[in-house]
Subunit: 348 residues, 2 copies
């Protein structure tokens, strides 16, 4: 819907013909079917099926198109797809509504959209996918697949299981005292909202990211235990400290890219070959620096391009010197203030 | 703000003069000060101070006014206030914003507002407080104080601590990889939103409701352990079952009073004396039946009144016969469909 609004031609396919028909009816697609000349093909299937379906799509492409996916776990998928045209992706947005009926052209406005280029990913494929992500109003964030998986276990997978655990606990208690659920006010509703989503995607996600999820659940248990101990011992100061810390962290939760005055744009001439995107993102990641955006601008004559990367101003020199050590010639630029962006759906 | 919009005269007092001045400036009150002739006085102070402040207010009243409070824990407070003019209260609404700056005239629209009449509470005081709650657009729900405390430990106190635990876990992890918080999308933001609230109220709440909170945290731990076991053992069916159960419970979360066709109004002539409200609510509660609303209509000549109670249609006969056994003459009425109500703030 977002791309069609921009004038793109969008075709779409589903194993179930009725779903594809519904997408057509809702105006999410222009036509039903696979387009072998598509610029980008999005594989939106359960995590365990992505590698197989994406390989199938790649074998059918007849143009120079790129392929990406939207699964919530990335390492296992990326490892199975040995093709320069593939870039793993994970849009960090959505709703508890299901399928195409939960769709809308603004779903990704302001959202973080992780891309996980591998050593095999070609700069062209990365550029194509990141520019379509940007066209949808999202902020593409390049990350190593493994790092993505560890981080989403903490901020997405374990929280999702926690929402389900809270809801099940309340449902158990409500079976003997149904007044309980009438007392479920805004806070409880907020905390359990994601538990209303379709559970179908979770067995695959959990299977593919099991160790990180177990570690995150153990971390949550330890974090809860600290609070429980303060409650049990009547330690008012300890309890206040823990709650105050959570409050400050919640209030400082970033809501997208940094303000332009806090960001720098690094421009790096690069050969136009697979591996260059993964090399730079891995190097910057190993420095502990966030890449807020990454883009490859191809030169007119081909074969070379300029990698444009946005990082925190404070980390600019660290990144520049690390790249210079590997013989990259880096130029550093201040960023122009962007046009005012609408608030992201992630901050509902 | 809500009452002033309806034309009430509202006075308010705070230990800090600057806060009272701010309330006046924002249009939350008409004047600064205590009104000894107020119809209802709301004591909005930390839970540990309510009994003392409410007793002080009661000693200053010169009219027939009632006194209520808004603390999130009730049994200890109600037990300490031996006065027919006091009714404990707990509005199940609010926001993570602080103080009078987070106020608005619609804050309680559609919200559940628990009232905890004791054996000493006079029908006049109950009626006065419940009608002002209804005027604010909230649904007064009478509950025994102890039952309220057990239930809110499950749907409010333990979830709040869980939100803080999740936020602290993420903050710890983000200190070594700051990309983490960029991946915090809508689900994580929803789950941690209440952790942004001011922690100042919590030491009192936790101290007054410690045992119930510890039991709720242990219940949550057990609920999470079931999910963890399904993840660890790769039990796809078990995981799906637990998530499916949570999904159904979340989707069936009630959002206020039942639809009129599912509710019955019971009218019970009662003597106009302390204890009658607590007697009826305790009796109905012991049957496992929810009271969606309760009101006392005084007769013109005084000394007697009619208690009007709304319960599930399915439970109407059970309640009627239990009351009849105690020599109450109960008449049962179908409810008229009410005017369309705006969506509650609890379902943001």
């Amino acid at each position: 819907m977002g791309l069609r609004r921009l004038g793109w031609h969008v075709s779409g396919y589903d194993l179930e013909a009725s779903r594809a028909a519904r997408a057509l009816q809702l105006g999410a697609i222009d036509e039903v079917g696979m387009d072998p000349f598509a610029a980008v093909t999005f594989v939106a299937v359960p995590a365990g099926a992505v590698a197989r379906v994406a390989a199938d799509v790649l074998s059918q492409l007849e143009g120079p198109g790129a392929v990406t996916d939207v699964a919530g776990v990335k390492e296992a998928i990326v490892a199975r797809l040995d093709d320069p045209r593939f870039v793993g992706g994970h849009p960090m947005a959505g709703s508890e509504q299901e399928g195409v009926d939960g769709a809308g052209p603004d779903l990704f406005l302001g959202a973080t959209w992780v891309l996980t280029p591998s050593e095999r990913t070609s700069p062209e494929a990365y550029t194509e996918v990141s520019s379509i992500v940007r066209a949808l109003g999202a902020n593409p964030v390049p990350l190593e697949a493994r790092r993505h998986d560890l981080l989403v276990a903490l901020v997405s997978h374990a929280p999702h299981l926690t929402a389900a655990a809270l809801m099940n606990l309340a449902a158990d208690a409500a079976s003997s005292d149904s007044t309980l659920l009438r007392l479920a006010a805004g806070g409880f509703r907020d905390m359990t909202r994601i538990a209303a989503g379709h559970p179908g995607i979770w067995p695959d996600v959990v299977a593919e990211n099991k160790e990180a999820i177990l570690a995150a659940l153990d971390g949550l248990g330890a974090s809860l235990d600290k609070l429980r101990a303060a409650v049990a011992s009547g330690d008012r100061t300890g309890l206040l400290d823990l709650l105050q810390r959570a409050r400050e962290a919640r209030r400082n939760l970033p809501s997208g890219a940094p303000s332009p005055e806090k960001a720098l744009e690094l421009r790096v001439p690069v050969p136009d070959r697979p591996g260059v995107v993964a090399e730079v993102t891995s190097l910057v990641g190993s420095l502990g620096v966030n890449i807020y955006d990454l883009e490859i601008v191809h030169s007119a004559e081909g074969g070379r391009g300029v990698l444009v990367m946005v990082v925190d101003a404070a980390s600019g020199e660290l990144v520049r010197s690390a790249l210079a050590e590997r013989a990259y010639r880096v130029s550093v630029h201040r960023m122009e203030p962007p046009a005012m962006e609408p608030p992201g759906p992630s901050d509902r």
